[in-house]
């Protein structure tokens, strides 16, 4: 065996087998780490900027800390998808810190019995901790408070400590969203003793302390955090929230370069690469050495948004014309690499069921588009900037280019405008001043009304179309808290969807996948609505 093949063989076999000539000493540690699957390495392309979800400025990738290091009262169950992969189950609520829960007979409150769980410092988890944590979530303002509000959890007065292990939430209104909203990453339970000890007058919620130092009861503790580089989790052996995780240590590594991430998983140097581009998912899926799990993201759509504040799009016919001029198939092929679900070409203009998302009754038909356009004041076409978020350029750019080409065929001249991620929120969502843009909103709580609430109600953040319709508004208000088994629910939802079909302020392109690549020996991966890696169930079996 010559040196080269020796190195190659070494590289092929095991974890972290990154052997260069200069790295030979590394061989010494290799066998130990290879024999057990104690340590798992996960890479992402994004940066964690805080260990406290409640803090202002905490970004999305940081939510994983809430998932992995903290417990909530409730969590969602697991279901097996048709392809055999695992996903969370919106329909099945389970206790995480709650042993059991019970809705009061009058339906005005819910009472939780807490498990005999302890925080990392050994102190038992009490109802007081729960109250302090939920109080915090509804009081700190910003995103956590808004998200709590979506579940009708708005005031500290709603939360009541019954005894050390019993906790009650009083409902403001009856809403089907309240209990699921307790299972999202926001209402996580904090060790209030530790937090209070580190709170100050200016900082009553211990934001500065928890920002860097989590204090929870979750399955993993943070061993070290090198911002911008890595987050290292170590297992909490006393975890009560669920079955004890297999891996003792998990390293979350941040690798900005997408091709590096691909190379790493392809060469087997890491265990899991999270949220990989569609193209990689398609290609890696064909390899034997990599397992790719793709799950359509529930309640999420990649859409082309027209902005009704701008002249050409005030006219519904123009919007419909645009919807007919989108080359859906090409986009699905060249931007989504056929990962996800098509959202075009429905046969009927009326929805047949209340499934959401579901295909819209449009397909690529330039003649029809031209005809529609010719019925408007803009029959000679017009010019419009087509914007997308640079942060989503992966699919956004090819999509925008293809749309640009399609629109050109009916005389609409679109100029492409890439907007840096920092800017995007401001101009697209807050100021809502982009005439035509791509959007990828997905609702955490998996009901159509929830999606419509955010995306079709005037003034709400994700309604970047400035869509404003009285009937739609009323339908959303009526259905938002209504139980799904209510008899009037389905017809109202159908009406909502039909209106969305007809008015098309948002033109769906496809439902995206959340694609994850992993070593074939890795099991237990579960897809979540929050699109974070839940590292707790991951196990890796060495050959």
């Amino acid at each position: 065996m010559d040196r080269r093949s020796f190195l190659k063989a070494g590289a092929a076999t095991t974890l972290g087998a990154s052997l260069s000539a200069g790295m030979l000493p590394f061989l010494k540690v290799l066998p130990a780490s290879a024999a057990t699957a104690d340590t798992l390495v996960v890479v992402t392309g994004t940066t964690i900027n805080s260990l406290d979800l409640h803090r202002t400025g905490t970004n999305r990738p940081s939510y994983q800390v809430s998932v992995n290091c903290y417990d909530r009262l409730l969590t969602f169950g697991t279901k097996t998808m048709p392809d055999g992969s695992l996903s969370y189950d919106y329909a099945k609520l389970e206790g995480e810190l709650a042993e059991s829960w019970e809705i009061a007979p009058d339906g005005d409150s819910v009472t939780f019995k807490l498990k005999d769980a302890t925080f990392w410092d050994g102190k038992p988890v009490t109802a007081a901790d729960v109250k302090w944590s939920l109080d915090r979530a509804v009081s700190v303002g910003g995103f956590p408070t808004v998200q709590m509000k979506a579940g009708s959890l708005e005031k500290p007065e709603q939360f009541e400590v019954v005894d050390a292990k019993t906790f009650r939430i009083k409902f403001l209104r009856k809403s089907k969203l309240t209990l699921p909203d307790l299972a999202v990453p926001v209402p996580f339970i904090i060790n209030s003793t530790v937090a209070k000890a580190n709170a100050t007058e200016k900082d009553p919620w211990a934001m500065e302390y928890l920002h860097r130092t989590p204090a929870g009861s979750g399955a993993y503790k943070v061993e070290r955090w090198d911002p911008g580089q890595q987050l290292v989790y170590t297992r909490n052996d006393a975890w009560k929230g669920g079955p004890l995780p297999a891996a003792k240590r998990i390293i979350m590594r941040e690798i900005p370069s997408q091709s590096t991430r691909r190379a790493l998983i392809e060469r087997g140097d890491i265990h899991l690469s999270h949220d990989i581009p569609a193209k990689d998912a398609k290609e890696l899926g064909a390899l034997k050495t990599v397992k790719v799990v793709g799950t359509p993201i529930e309640n999420c759509l990649h859409v082309l948004c027209t902005n009704l504040n701008f002249e050409p799009f005030k006219d519904k016919k123009v919007r419909q014309a645009v919807a007919y001029a989108v080359p859906y198939q090409e986009i699905f092929q060249n931007a989504a690499y056929e990962r996800g679900a098509p959202m075009w070409g429905a046969k009927s203009a009326e929805p047949t069921d209340i499934a959401w998302p579901q295909p819209f009754p449009y397909s690529t038909d330039y003649d029809k588009a031209k005809e529609l356009l010719s019925q408007t004041a803009f029959k000679d076409g017009f010019e419009v900037p087509l914007s997308f978020d640079l942060g989503t350029a992966e699919w956004g750019e090819p999509t925008a280019l293809l749309i640009q080409e399609g629109l050109a065929k009916i005389g609409i001249k679109a100029t492409i405008d890439k907007i840096p991620g920092a800017n995007w929120r401001t101009v697209a969502l807050v100021e809502k001043k982009l005439p035509l843009h791509l959007d990828n909103f997905g609702g955490w709580l998996n009901t159509p009304d929830y999606y419509f609430f955010w995306a079709y109600v005037k003034g709400n953040l994700f309604n970047s179309s400035n869509y404003d319709d009285a009937e739609m508004m009323q339908l959303i208000n009526e259905t938002l808290h209504m139980p799904m088994d209510d008899a009037t629910y389905a017809p109202k939802i159908k009406r909502m969807i039909a209106k969305a079909f007809d008015d098309v302020p948002r033109i769906p392109l496809y439902q995206p996948n959340l694609d994850v690549a992993m070593r074939p020996g890795l099991d237990g991966y579960e897809a979540w609505f929050h699109r974070m890696v839940d590292v707790r169930p991951l196990t890796f079996k060495t050959a």
């Binding site: 408070t145 911002p227 580089q229 190379a263 929120r425 401001t426």
Partner: protein, 342 residues
């Protein structure tokens, strides 16, 4: 040869740097305020409403007029408070202190590498002007500087990591399973040696290799060019003729006399090259996931992270001032004439 003139010289350089520093502070402030995107919106997070954004804007002091913001910025600066970075949630000062050594280790290694290759190349070319050796040297170094660093980096990663498997994965400064050595200098190669951890040293070195080569390729050309030009000029000067006429050996003439004199302009160039290298660093760090200050700056800029961008630029400016000072000092040590100038 007394110390005071040199001390004065150093003092004067410091004074000269002061207006530039003031300029930097102002430009940085203006530039960062002009960045698009509203940090308040960013801070407010997804799903925040108008009221909470306004509240956060007030909290950040962004509702006040620019001059007022500038004054409070200056006050913060004076107390060493550079603010908190949005993107990593850390105090900017901490970020810079932890990341700067990474960038410096990479840049300095690359520079040393470049010097080690470029100076001999330059000397070689200068001793045989217009020969094929000269043309070859020129061709090679020009090719090096013509390659966009991001492209070179990607190509090297593809070749040495992905295809050949010789290099470690391009993910930072150490292999995943190693813990960083105790911080003394912040340079992993040095710290690991100080800690006596040979395997960590090997890993640090291996991780350093590709990015350093990428950067070195880019900085080869200016150094080699300057060496060649300076050598040519010195070799043509009178005192070299004197040295030859006095029967000094070729070795002594070339290295003892010519090279030492030729190093003076090269040293000056090094300051410039260092600046270039730090700029190129930004892209190299991005490619190699190197946890340095350059990649930090890109991220900060993209998310309009005022405090981080400001802190980064200020740190850079201070670094350059310090570096130029260092170069001046070296220059003064090497060139006795400097004391009398001006």
């Amino acid at each position: 040869m007394t110390l005071p003139p040199k001390v004065r010289l150093v003092g004067r350089r410091l004074l000269q740097a002061a207006p530039a520093l003031a300029g930097i502070i102002i430009i940085t402030f203006v530039l960062t305020r002009a960045l698009p995107g509203d940090p308040a919106v960013y801070f407010a997070g997804p799903a925040a409403d108008e009221a909470s954004i306004a509240e956060i804007r007030k909290q950040l002091g962004l509702d006040r007029s620019l001059p007022v913001q500038f004054v409070s910025y200056l006050r913060d600066l004076a107390t060493g408070n550079l603010g908190t970075s949005i993107s990593t949630g850390q105090p900017v000062l901490t970020e810079i202190v932890t990341r700067l050594p990474a960038s410096l280790e990479l840049t300095l290694t690359a520079l040393l590498l470049a010097i080690a290759v470029a100076v001999p190349l330059g000397v070689l070319a200068a001793t045989r002007p217009d020969s094929w050796v000269d043309h070859l040297c020129r061709f090679v170094v020009t090719a090096g500087v013509s390659l966009p660093t991001f492209f070179t980096g990607l190509a090297l990663v593809y070749l040495f990591y992905y295809l050949l498997g010789w290099a470690p994965p391009p993910m930072g400064r150490l292999d995943i399973l190693f813990l960083p050595p105790d911080r003394v200098t912040g340079f992993y190669t040095i710290d690991s040696l100080l800690a006596g951890d040979i395997s960590a040293f090997g890993s640090a070195l291996a991780h350093l290799a590709l990015p350093a080569v990428t950067l070195a390729l880019f900085t080869l050309a200016p150094i080699a060019r300057m060496t060649r030009a300076a050598m040519l000029q010195v070799l043509g000067s009178d005192f070299i003729r004197t040295a030859r006429a006095a029967g000094l050996s070729r070795r002594t003439v070339l290295f003892g006399y010519a090279l030492r004199n030729a190093m003076l302009p090269v040293i000056t160039t090094l300051g410039m090259v260092f600046s270039f290298a730090l700029g190129a660093n930004v892209l190299v760090e991005k490619v190699f996931a190197w946890p340095g200050i350059g990649s930090y700056a890109i991220e900060a800029l993209v998310v309009s992270d005022y405090a981080a961008v400001q802190g980064f630029v200020l740190a850079m400016a201070l670094l350059f001032v310090a570096l130029n000072l260092l170069i001046d000092v070296i220059y003064t040590l090497v060139d006795p004439r400097l004391q009398l100038e001006e």
